[in-house]
Symmetry: C2
Subunit: 419 residues, 2 copies
């Protein structure tokens, strides 16, 4: 029986979950793997409940430099002070497992290089998709594949809100409030609803799937706060549901990494991923279409992924596990990024409006797939336009001109349609 | 760059796919993994197309005993002669990767023991779910979990047939014919439609998830040939779709391993798995509910899983990879196996019939959830009964008595309801 002593930095929901899981299933793991994990020290500035006093510390460096400890689990979250702690752990010759997506999205390359320089392992399965082994799938199971595209529902908060809007006809603000009451959304929901969290994960997915150097500033992202109940209803009418997708696309013209609310066909497997669940859809040259579905957050689901990383490191008998060197990919120009679009416009209810708009679209080589003229009130009509495939640059140019028309009161929303 | 020379036994769809993938993506794998795989010899009794003559052989033992070859890929299928070849490869000190579910379900324990005795690796990711990394998920990513239950759509042929019946209102025989035309079903479809193939996979899943010793004779299974279009319609009326599920359940009372057609709620993620796709739903104590979805067959999807096994062996630098020793689990008695049931009965269209049937069910402590009285023709009525949870033994006793009633013309079908 190989004994592995573990230290945990940060004892919130996730850190506490790791302690609980490793304690509860210690004999299960030992019986199956011949690995005996023991959490010997936990650092937290608070005095967390349910943790024996003798293994608690307020000093992260006491844990990092504890000579008994072989692997450090970082579950503090955020860049500061987690970054300093992880770098110190590498320097002390300790392997690190983290769930910290923001840290990897912002400081990933520095950390991968530092881990390699110290000859230690650095794993982060829990940083994307919680319990879902998507990092392992991309790193191991799909290792013989060229990944073509990834579409992920990787933020449980926004998926919960969109599900409530879709299934219970709640407005965004009511759905957000409900998510906050249930603990699925933070008091300050910005990181989730504005797409930051999903964008961190998109950057990580691109790094693991393609080796694309992480540069968070280049990830374009958008959240869900502009989505109204009417958008949800119009999406339904055209056979779709709105999902916030993290997107990684790889083609010979370049790569796209971003986050965007998208109208997904009800027939697509991602459409049935509801509530706080996450799922990542991957299309690769040999395996074809796959989807990985599960809980994207929560104490034990996240701890399950962290424990899998710990087991992988313990099994590797000293051979450090990390990522290959990053590559610089050409980013796709907006000129080359193709997609179908949904426009939700408020227009004057009079003759000739559609003709003006259609003229602008034609000038920009954007062809129209469908037009739905909806409710009119106070002489303002709602116009929904679905385009065929068009490039992003032309769409942006057309939207600018459409927005400037005197007959157009407002551009309420613009969404992508289809994957 | 580490060079790994591979030999392939059997060059049908899957073996040819492995050759194609390793050749096509050789530089991709080399760039990412630092592993250079080369297929140096392929044995097949035929002379397969697309394989250079200089690496073809008609003699499996020439490949097995080729001193250049480090890893053998077995893609012959079936027990004979694959078993002898795999055992010979182990004796020759070669690791083996196989996609052969029948071989593992029938001779797995013998093979695992022989591989361990020879100190070689033996992996079989492609044997369940084709491209889907379910074996890796259970073996690695969920290693810190106690698996509670697995429900898998693991046979693409039957899922395709059931999808056609559901979506296009085809009868079983027409859907089977269409599956045969498209190459999703064999000329002799028994292994698929009668549940053998899914049963092999259920046994393998139980071995990997729980360590349950493989004993294929103890796997109870049932196919889909008794399912009629009317069953599909009645399932739809109660909010479900019929799926053929491989089932592994683990509780303190014992384990269940089997295959059964089941009415799955339309809200369950498995319900939306259509056509030839496979998906495995896993519920475990920490990770919670997960689903793994993808292509369950085909040349390149299967080759993707085989290549992942090859990469894992090549990375392990000689440390053999295998399964822990098996455990003997108590099988759940029919007395303890609980479930909800659907009965499809043809009964005489007269007073008192339902009362007689309901009386028998009450005597057997089976309570009724819903009764649907359907079409009547020639004085024969169709009666659909959905039960609450009841144990299998009582259901069987009740069905025997119901079938013996003079007013009951026939018991057309009995299905499980819910997971």
């Amino acid at each position: 029986m190989k004994k592995i002593k573990v230290g945990i930095l940060g004892c919130g929901t996730v850190g506490g979950g790791v302690y609980t899981l490793l304690t509860k299933n210690r004999s299960v793991i030992a019986g199956r793997e011949g690995l005996d994990f023991e959490v010997v020290q936990i650092a937290d500035v608070r005095a967390p409940k349910g943790i024996p006093a003798k293994i608690r510390s307020k000093d992260a460096y006491a844990v990092i430099n504890n000579p008994d400890i072989e692997i450090i689990v970082e579950t503090i979250g955020g860049v500061k002070p987690a970054l300093d702690f992880v770098l110190a752990a590498f320097k002390a010759g300790k392997s690190v497992v983290t769930a910290n997506k923001e840290l990897i999205a912002k400081e990933g390359e520095r950390l991968f290089a530092a881990a390699a320089a110290s000859g230690v392992s650095f794993l982060f399965e829990a940083s994307v998709g919680g319990s879902i082994p998507i990092i392992a799938a991309l790193r191991n199971n799909l290792a013989a594949n060229q990944i073509k595209e990834i579409y992920g529902i990787v933020n449980g908060t926004t998926n919960y809100i969109l599900t409530k809007m879709t299934e219970e006809k709640m407005e965004f603000s009511a759905a957000l409030k409900k998510a906050q009451e249930l603990g699925f959304a933070e008091a300050n929901p910005t990181a989730d609803v504005d797409g930051y969290d999903a964008a961190y994960k998109a950057a990580i997915l691109a790094r693991v799937a393609l080796g694309a150097e992480i540069n968070f500033k280049e990830v374009s992202f958008e959240g869900i706060s502009k989505i109204s109940l009417s958008d949800i209803r119009y999406a339904d009418e055209i056979g779709g549901v709105i999902k916030l997708l993290a997107v990684v696309k790889n083609s010979s013209a370049g790569i796209e990494i971003g986050v965007r609310p998208t109208i997904v066909s009800k027939k697509h497997p991602l459409a049935s991923v509801s509530n706080e669940f996450n799922a990542i859809f991957v299309n690769s040259d040999a395996a074809g279409e796959q989807m990985y579905y599960g809980r994207g957050a929560g104490a034990l689901p996240t701890a399950s992924a962290i424990a899998a990383d710990l087991i992988e490191i313990a099994r590797s008998s000293g051979e450090p596990i990390g990522l290959p060197e990053p590559k610089i990919f050409k980013r796709l120009d907006s000129n080359e990024s193709m997609g179908r679009y949904y426009f939700h416009l408020k227009v004057a209810d009079k003759f000739g409006v559609l003709s003006e708009i259609a003229g602008i679209l034609a000038d920009q080589k954007v062809s129209i797939d469908a037009v739905l003229q909806k409710e009119t009130s106070n002489n303002v009509a709602t116009l929904i336009i679905i385009t065929h495939e068009a490039n992003e640059k032309n769409i942006a140019a057309a939207l600018k001109q459409i927005g400037d028309l005197s007959v157009v009161k407002s551009v309420k929303n613009v969404l992508r349609v289809g994957l």
